[in-house]
Amino acid sequence: MSRVRDRTEDFKEAVRVAALSHGYTEVSSTPAPPHPFSSAYGRKLNDPQFIALRCVAMQAQLAALMSSFIIRKLTPKSPFTNAAIKTLESIRELERFIVKHRRDYVDLHRTTEQERDNIEHEVGVFVKACKEQIDILKNRIHDEEKNGNAKTWLGTRDESSRLDLIAHQHGVVLILCERLHSVTAQFDRLRSMRFQDAINRAMPRKKIQKKPEIKPAEPSKSNLVLKSDVSKIGDQEVSTAPMRVQEQLLDDETRALQVELTSLLDAVQETETKMMEMSALNHLMSTHVLQQAQQIQYLYDQWDCGLCVSPVTSSALSQAVEATNNVERGNKELSQAIQRNSSSRTFLLLFFFVLTFSVLFLDWYSK
């Protein structure tokens, strides 16, 4: 379905022709080179043997040129790109896994709850692994940039030569993030379908609950109506006895229903809390990835508008990068401080303990 005209063959042909003519013009322009030994050399240059040599050299060059079209030299990819490609492959793997098990997961009667939990767990692990890979890639960009910053004492010149490369790498990470996000969103939809099923299965019980609720209400209403009717009719002696029996029956019924209600209520509360937890996790997975994507996008946009506006915006980006670095370092320091705090506390306790025992010992010894 090609609406495109491929001109590559034309181009190759034109290159060949151009190369030939290029060699030809070189050969023909050799007669007067500015050379110290021109007099002796000049004779030699016009020598037909020399011209033949040049022709051979030209032909070799031409052959190299044409072969470079056919045998494309595969430049080795940077380790970053290799890692990125591997991550993409693993995300695709995840997608294939979800698609394969989609029917098992959603359909009510194909699998048990246990198997569904298994699938969820595996997907969760996979997603975490992918996310870690993406984090590694992101850190690698920061590290490379920092190294670049540290090494270059020439300053901006070297940085600007890596601007596009760094922006490209940010773009790669962003693409990966978005892919992961779309895949997890897909999975979350399946999950919400599962929850809907779970709720629906709980719902019929609710409907039964509602009906007994209405029934105790209605019998009591009908009680009142009956009583008023009876009082209106005035035939109390005859109808009170069977009425009282009816009342008794209705009371028993209501009590039994209330007991059932409370037990069901407990079960429902349990399922509800579980579902809240699951829905929280539900959103956690996709929002976490989305957050990360947004983070990267923010940095990337800084790159993008920076690149569009002016070529040297490394300061803005490095500031953002440094800010995140600072925050990370701050976190580390805090955690270290907390650790130290707790360790110092134990040391202090030990110290006092030992002191107390030594005082006691000395006391006993002096006796």
């Binding site: 090609s2 609406r3 495109v4 005209r5 491929d6 001109r7 590559t8 034309d10 181009f11 034109a14 290159v15 060949r16 151009a18 003519s21 290029h22 060059q61 040129l65 470079s68 079209f69 045998i71 494309r72 030299k73 430049t75 990819k77 940077s78 790109t81 990125a84 490609i85 993409l88 492959e89 695709r92 997608e95 294939r96 600007s160 030569s161 890596r162 601007l163 596009d164 490369l165 490209h168 773009g171 790669v172 962003l174 693409i175 978005e178 929850f195 709720i199 719902m203 609710k206 609950q209 609720e213 209600l261 209520l265 429902v268 509360q269 509800e272 579902m275 829905s279 959103h283 690149l307």
Partner: protein
């Protein structure tokens, strides 16, 4: 087979982005992963070509990490392939060769937006041959994409060739300029048809630029069809072809000048005219908006008159508030703290529904806000320029053929920018065949009072005057000679203008364009269109075969010299009105608003030396 220009253009671009490798719909297997992350380098015209069709997020989905301009200083990204999409100019080609020699990227996939002419290709080849051998080897692919048109919507495209009208009607224009412009237009149309993959039947009026463009396009298509396989071989076989071939109707702006300048009262033409909508992007002083197919309110309401749009916004806002209240009631309300046991499950479910519907609600709110801001800005402008008065007056003149002289003069003396007054005056000129000169004097005096530059007015007056002079000569068939080019133009516009005026006066607000297109599509004998020329690239040159005149199911209408959303709307209405529904695509060399067109007319007037007192209207900055 509905022709969907935008989708086809998108397909071509996506295939280009995937480096023309076979890919399955989900891209799961078989996609070359080594080339998964690429860079896209474009020049400015191609950026505007791509922006209505693909957004940056979509680009990322197809694996493009960075979009760079070809003229900016760029640095090396050694392990990524680069896709170039540029126009085939020598300077672009030099840049590409320099990049290849410097080895900026791993491989180069060079795509030209139209066909690359032989000399330019040889220039690229020479530059690559002169560099070390590895350089040429990096150029993996050179292709002609034939997508050099801006597809604003499914049925609307523009060739982004500004000031075509000025160049064509310039009395001082050299023949070479006109020929090159005609060639450029023909090339753009060829790109459109190459993307659609059909060979049309071309119909155009006699004389004038339409005929020239038709002849050039016909020649180009014929040449191209001679080579096999060509871009059109996927089309159905010749036997079935006649039923599915569309008709290309070429028109010149002089065919119906009044549509170009009039004020309109519907939402979309108003936004385009007053606020300046370009490439589906709107820039207000406060912020930027994007108005395209993804905006549901825009699609449903673009052709409604402005008051109705305001009502719709109100209604949507009320509905939104209602929905939000309902959500709040179900989840917030009282059920949060006290655990009413029986309501618990219902609560959870409502909570989940609410959480799911929140993003949708925020989207709706954003859309409503956007349109409220746009409508407010529009309202401000309308009040300031009393555009409603202009619209009513012009409507009266064009549809009913009556003019209330007092309103006309009061409007000319009252509020409104100079362009508005000029437009009203020009519409007045064009609505009536003969005007009492006293009236004309009054109008001109009013214009001069408001210090309006008279060049455009005089220019249109002169066209009309020349038309009446050539009234007798219009019947005779004269051969189209570039030397007699000006006379052809005026002669054709005479018949066109009077025909247009007649139609307008008699038939209510149906544009002459629509009627002609309808007649051409039906293919029945019709005095209006019988003398239209017919070009059929697939037929043999001797023209022995019967000429296929219709009926056609699909039509592509092209306006040389500047199109308009008003014409687009009337064509859409035609599409919906006919049974069975026909499909019409509308295109122009550029989409002009009324103000821009008046600028071009003024410029022409000045070039013709008809300038009035002051020449302080800046040269037309059309897009």
């Amino acid at each position: 087979m509905a022709l969907s220009l935008r989708r086809k253009q998108l397909d071509v671009i996506v295939r280009m982005l995937h480096l023309n490798q076979q890919q399955l719909p989900n891209g799961s297997e078989g996609q070359g992963e080594e080339e998964a992350y690429k860079l896209l380098v474009m020049d400015q015209p191609c950026v505007s070509l791509l922006s209505p069709v693909l957004k940056v997020g979509d680009l990322r989905r197809h694996g493009v990490t960075l979009t760079l301009g070809i003229d900016r200083p760029r640095q090396a990204v050694p392990d990524a392939p680069a896709v170039y999409l540029v126009r085939p100019t020598p300077s672009n080609v030099d840049r590409i060769a320099a990049d290849a020699a410097a080895g900026l990227y791993a491989s180069f996939h060079v795509n030209f937006s139209t066909s690359v002419p032989r000399p330019v290709l040889e220039r690229l080849a020479a530059a690559c041959a002169a560099a070390p051998p590895a350089c040429a080897g990096r150029v993996a692919r050179v292709a002609d994409q034939y997508i050099d048109f801006v597809c604003l919507e499914e049925g609307l495209f523009s060739l982004a060739q500004p000031r075509a009208y000025v160049a064509l009607n310039d009395p001082a224009a050299a023949d070479a300029d006109i020929t090159s412009l005609v060639d450029a237009v023909a090339l753009g149309l060829f790109c459109v048809f190459a993307t659609l993959g059909v060979v049309p039947v071309i119909r155009c009026a006699r004389g004038g630029p339409a005929e020239m463009v038709a002849a050039t396009l016909d020649a180009r298509l014929r040449d191209h069809l001679l080579a096999k396989p060509n871009l059109f071989t996927e089309a159905a076989s010749a036997a079935v072809v006649s039923f599915q071939r569309p008709v290309l109707c070429l028109f010149d702006r002089n065919f119906e000048l009044s549509v170009g300048v009039q004020h309109d009262w519907s939402y979309r033409p108003l936004v385009h005219d007053v606020l300046g909508l370009k490439l589906n992007k709107l820039k207000l002083p406060a912020e930027k908006y994007e108005l395209d197919d993804s905006d549901k309110f825009w699609i449903t309401n673009s052709w409604s008159p402005f008051p109705k749009v305001a009502e719709e916004i109100e209604a949507q806002l009320a509905k939104y508030k209602q929905d939000v209240d309902e959500v709040n009631q179900r989840t917030g309300g009282g059920g949060g703290v006290e655990f009413n046991g029986t309501d618990l499950i219902g609560n959870t479910r409502h909570l989940m529904n609410a959480v799911n519907s929140l993003p949708e609600l925020t989207e709706r709110k954003k859309m409503i806000d956007k349109h409220t801001n746009i409508a407010t800005a529009l309202l401000g402008h309308i009040k300031e320029r009393s555009l409603d008065g202009y619209c009513d007056c012009e409507n009266d003149m064009l549809v009913n053929g009556t003019v209330d002289r007092n309103t006309l003069l009061s409007l000319l003396k009252g509020k409104g920018t100079k362009e508005d007054k000029l437009r009203l005056a020009v519409t007045y000129l064009l609505s009536f065949e003969t005007l009492p000169s006293s009236e004309l004097e009054h109008v001109e005096a009013a214009l001069r009072e408001s210090e309006v530059d008279m060049s455009a007015f005089q220019y249109v007056k002169r066209i009309k005057a020349l038309n009446t002079q050539f009234a007798a000569a219009s019947g005779t068939a004269t051969k189209s000679n570039i030397v007699d080019w000006a006379e052809k133009l005026y002669g054709q516009s005479l018949s066109a203008v009077t025909a247009g005026v007649k139609n307008l006066l008699s038939d209510g607000r149906q544009l002459a364009l629509t009627r002609t297109v309808e007649a051409l599509m039906e293919g029945k004998p019709n005095p209006d269109v019988d003398d239209y020329l017919l070009f059929d690239p697939r037929a043999s040159r001797s023209g022995s075969g019967g000429q296929f005149k219709g009926p056609f199911r699909e039509a592509i209408v092209f306006m040389i010299g500047g199109g308009n959303y008003i014409e687009y709307r009337s064509l859409m209405e035609l599409e919906q009105r006919t049974q069975p529904s026909k499909h019409v695509i509308y295109g122009a060399t550029e989409i002009l608003s009324g103000a821009e067109f008046i600028h071009q007319l003024a410029e022409l007037g000045q070039k013709a030396g008809l300038g009035g007192a002051s020449s302080n209207i800046p040269p037309g900055a059309a897009q």
